[in-house]
Subunit: 325 residues, 2 copies
Amino acid sequence: MKQLATLACTLTLTHALSAADPLPSWNDTAPKKAIIEFVEKVTKEGSDDFVPVSDRIATFDNDGCLWAEQPVYFQALFIFDRIKELAPEHPEWKTKEPFASVLKGDIKSALAGGEKALLEMAMATHAGMTTDEFAKIANDWITTAKHPKTGKLYTEMVYQPMLELLTYLRANDFKTFIVSGGGIDFMRPWTERVYGIPPEQVIGSSVKTKFEIKDGKAVVMRVPEIGFIDDKEGKPVGIQTHIGRRPIASFGNSDGDLQMHQWTQSGDGPRFSLYVHHTDAEREWAYDRDSHIGRLDKGLDEAREKGWTVVDMKNDWNKVFAFEK
Amino acid sequence: MKQLATLACTLTLTHALSAADPLPSWNDTAPKKAIIEFVEKVTKEGSDDFVPVSDRIATFDNDGCLWAEQPVYFQALFIFDRIKELAPEHPEWKTKEPFASVLKGDIKSALAGGEKALLEMAMATHAGMTTDEFAKIANDWITTAKHPKTGKLYTEMVYQPMLELLTYLRANDFKTFIVSGGGIDFMRPWTERVYGIPPEQVIGSSVKTKFEIKDGKAVVMRVPEIGFIDDKEGKPVGIQTHIGRRPIASFGNSDGDLQMHQWTQSGDGPRFSLYVHHTDAEREWAYDRDSHIGRLDKGLDEAREKGWTVVDMKNDWNKVFAFEK
């Protein structure tokens, strides 16, 4: 009985997998071929390139890789909305930069203070509450706020080809992780629903947290201090802290992902690294070396030099967003 | 065909699960009954207590909960062995405490300096190499070093009833995590093999790490500074950082696990917390309120007050170690 079941399961599964194109939003150009070749190679039992299931770790950047990141990181838009929401409790913000500019709707001036200003706004809006409270705030925003250009929910602005890729990798027993410079607790409330990636497989930047008994109940409080920055050199550190082993495949779109790719590539056996190159000003945005958001400069050079896969969004994807006609 | 396969799979699985006692090393006393009652309750679809698979998170302390921790934490014995190994490179250790005492085999004096001394020895032996190099050092030790009293490998000194419990929970779609005060990278090389818990589901104390390009190769270096202490108030923080959601079941044996239990218990819906109480001086060790290793004092009071499950090792387990006759 058990053997019959196993046989029947195997047949059903094999049939289901071979029946359809796993990556229909990808054109039949080099990147799609490279992905499929890699996956078939590492999953072929008995071959030299075979990788056991437990080592099939794939890491994905989020902003600009799984979902869009223009005109600014979506989490920055969340921060601006939070500042407006919290303004009545902070009368001093009316005259204090960068908050004053946000309240006037002048985002350009608000961001003129660079990383320091953004960090100050993040701390003012991302700390001082319990982890449960923050999860609810993030989830309420992500399920209602709309993108300024497309008018879509931010979770609709995920790249259809990347969703297919996540599904394809998981169907081949890869474990998929997010490794993002964005806030770990900003992403966790919705990544399982949107990407099929559970909270424990999300790595990101964080504030410090502190355990407390509050009104007789155990809570974890969010403290307005940087805990970890999961960007550039931070990405391999975050991967090592959370996963404890090296990915065999990594996916990104900016120089912030370069060290993750280098870390992935420096392991033994077959390796796959991919850059999404934003080349489609019509369906999405076109930007790379000179962009202040998601700059891809050194990474593009190294990818070409080392033969990593570079996706030309315009030519390699026949669909960017699921909502396109 | 697909329906037949599903039916056959289901029948086989149902048969396999109902055929045997899932916890044969547990006597039919209260703790075993409480565990089974909890698992059946949260997995019964349609019931008020049903918990969806994605929320079935169970966290386990390691030292004294999954494996023994006497006469001292096994990682301390690893540290002592490392000091002896590294002594030729450190002639100054001959006259410098606590190293000098370790080299003389006088562990009691070496530990007299308390946590500070242990930390100093940990930093001297757990940093200054790449994460890959450290994983190899830890794995080489764990596969060869023997326990001073039993003469067994340390990985043979895991509690058979807890192995059965891990398997039973996973068979019921729980995701099992280690949340230990021990070193995260000391445990990761062997937890999958010994407990069926992969590296990414291990949470523990850590040193800081740093990404580097060394001889043209990407490495993550271990730095001699404390990164995180995963004990007491640190456990809920570690759980939040790594898992991002509250466990519904937690397992420990000391006051160091109390906050993890409190964090688990403070969520909505059914909750289960368990303390292993070391009461068996014959098959294992007997210690609790006055022990300097794995002290169980406040936790025991709170467990009794709140009705958490307390395992009386002597009376509730018919086998402690698999190697017993």
